[in-house]
């Protein structure tokens, strides 16, 4: 089914339906169907090679599903131009991958793609949110790992996304930066009432950040529910 169904209300801001990706005979993502309400923070948890990042890449359409699709506000995402889709579904990756230049240059990158120039005030406000108020003119090559991730978060927010995808945003950081960036994400997500899908291999982190948890194994959902339910079930398993 393609396109927006006029008779169908769109209660979910994001919905995946039978989302799958198969590469060289291997199922990386296998029949994932979830619904995400506006303002939901959903953690996608699982061990290495469980398909968490592959799932997130499909939602941003960096990879093409081999079956199933994603609906964004009820509209099949294949009907949305990829650039517009990626603006609406912004992604923050494990490594910051900042573009050469200043912090401000990085923040301007997304809006500039659609011909908008981010004002100095907007840049200051974004940097203030991520605790880098005076760093707009700093060269990104001088930033620490934690600061680079903060810039990466601000850069993703600069696109004013409907949904924010976080792919293990703290896993490449040292312990102290990890705590700082996690608290920052939590604060920013709450302040902006963001809808968020966050991939992590750490169930404890998922329980601190998310309201719902999705557990993946070999590309498939093995458990899904509220953070409380999942923690209870996982504790009983141990």
């Amino acid at each position: 089914m393609k396109g927006k169904d006029p008779g169908r209300p769109a209660p979910w801001i994001l919905e995946t339906k039978h989302l799958s990706r198969m590469v060289s005979g291997k199922r990386l993502v296998d029949d994932i169907s979830i619904q995400v309400e506006r303002g939901d923070v959903v953690a996608v948890v699982g061990p290495s090679a469980s398909g968490k990042s592959s799932f997130l890449r499909l939602v941003n359409r960096l990879d093409e599903p081999t079956a199933g699709t994603v609906y964004l506000e009820g509209e099949d995402y294949r009907d949305i131009p990829p650039r517009e889709l990626r603006r609406q579904v912004s992604m923050m990756t494990q490594t910051a991958f900042l573009f050469p230049g200043t912090v401000a240059d990085n923040l301007r990158f997304g809006p500039r793609q659609r011909g908008k120039d981010l004002s100095e005030e907007s840049i200051a406000a974004l940097l203030n949110q991520v605790g880098l108020a005076d760093q707009a003119r700093s060269d990104v090559s001088h930033l620490s790992g934690g600061e680079a991730q903060r810039v990466s978060l601000a850069r993703a927010l600069a696109n004013s996304p409907l949904v924010l995808l976080l792919d293990e945003p703290t896993s490449a950081l040292d312990d102290s930066s990890k705590q700082e960036v996690e608290s920052l994400i939590l604060r920013v997500v709450k302040q902006n009432a963001l809808t968020c899908l966050m991939v992590t291999h750490d169930l404890a982190q998922a329980s601190r950040v998310a309201g719902r948890i999705l557990i993946l194994k070999a590309g498939k959902i093995t458990r899904m529910g509220s953070t409380k339910e999942i923690l209870h079930a996982e504790t009983n398993l141990q």
Partner: protein, 266 residues
């Protein structure tokens, strides 16, 4: 020394080829001592080289007696062979043969047509095929360098490219610095050849012209003409190659398809 032993030209040629082969094998032996194993590649290249050039030499003998229009087919076949060779250097790049063929055909083809029309290349088969083959061979090298460099650049910057895509950038824009780097790198040999002309090397064509009795100044100027044509053909080839390859590196939905390998799921 060989000339004193062999009076027959064919025997002399075979003896000279043997000496040159022994030298190449000695280099292979030296590389082997340093744990660099190129035996298979070098032996195959040597065998292919002698078989191909002797076969082409034999065909040329027949073609030189044929009508002039046959050179078009010979040059087209050379372009196809050059594209196939170049495409082998571009493993992992989707549509590498097509990209190589169109780039070489456009780069070398346009220069051959224009310069033949201008009178800088004679329409006689004896002139058109050797000069044309020089342009095609250099376009092939440039194309190989372009594709190889582009692939390395994209593979080294996959994270940045996909980050830019994920922020809503267009596919062409995300690879534009790597397209520029590939173009510049691919033209280094052609530029260096022009720059060092007459100082570092006196190319074979000029030597041949001198031996066949051409005036030295004309032979020198014509060599410059040839190298300028090589530069133009190489530049055009690289330009087309980079234009084509940047579209082949992405899917219609602007997903980067030219990736080191599909990343393991996390």
């Amino acid at each position: 020394m060989l000339k004193q032993i062999f009076s027959n030209q064919l025997s002399l040629g075979l003896a000279q080829a043997l000496v040159a082969t022994v030298l190449a094998l000695a280099v292979m032996g030296l590389a082997r001592k340093r744990q660099i194993h190129l035996e298979r590649d070098i032996i195959i290249a040597l065998i292919r080289g002698i078989v191909q050039i002797v076969a082409v030499g034999s065909i040329l003998v027949l073609l030189l007696r044929g009508p002039r229009w046959t050179s078009v087919f010979v040059l087209a076949a050379m372009m196809a062979a050059a594209a196939a060779t170049s495409a082998r250097r571009a493993k992992g790049i989707p549509g590498a043969f097509g990209v190589s063929f169109y780039s070489i055909a456009f780069g070398a083809g346009l220069v051959i047509v224009l310069m033949t029309w201008a009178g800088a290349i004679d329409t006689a088969i004896t002139s058109l095929i050797p000069v044309g083959s020089m342009l095609i061979a250099n376009s092939m090298n440039t194309n190989s360098l372009t594709l190889n460099r582009f692939r390395s650049e994209v593979e080294a910057h996959t994270g940045l490219i996909e980050t830019a895509l994920a922020l809503g950038a267009g596919s062409k824009q995300t690879v534009s610095p790597y397209v520029q780097a590939s173009f510049q790198a691919s033209l280094i040999p052609a530029i260096d050849s022009l720059r060092s002309l007459g100082i570092v090397w006196i190319p074979g064509l000029m030597t041949g012209m001198l031996l066949s009795g051409s005036k030295p100044i004309y032979a020198a100027i014509y060599q410059f003409v040839i190298l300028s044509m090589i530069f133009s053909a190489s530049g055009l080839t690289s330009l087309v190659s980079t234009l084509l390859i940047r579209t082949h590196a992405f899917s219609p939905a602007e997903q980067l398809t030219l990736r080191p390998s599909v990343k393991a799921t996390r």
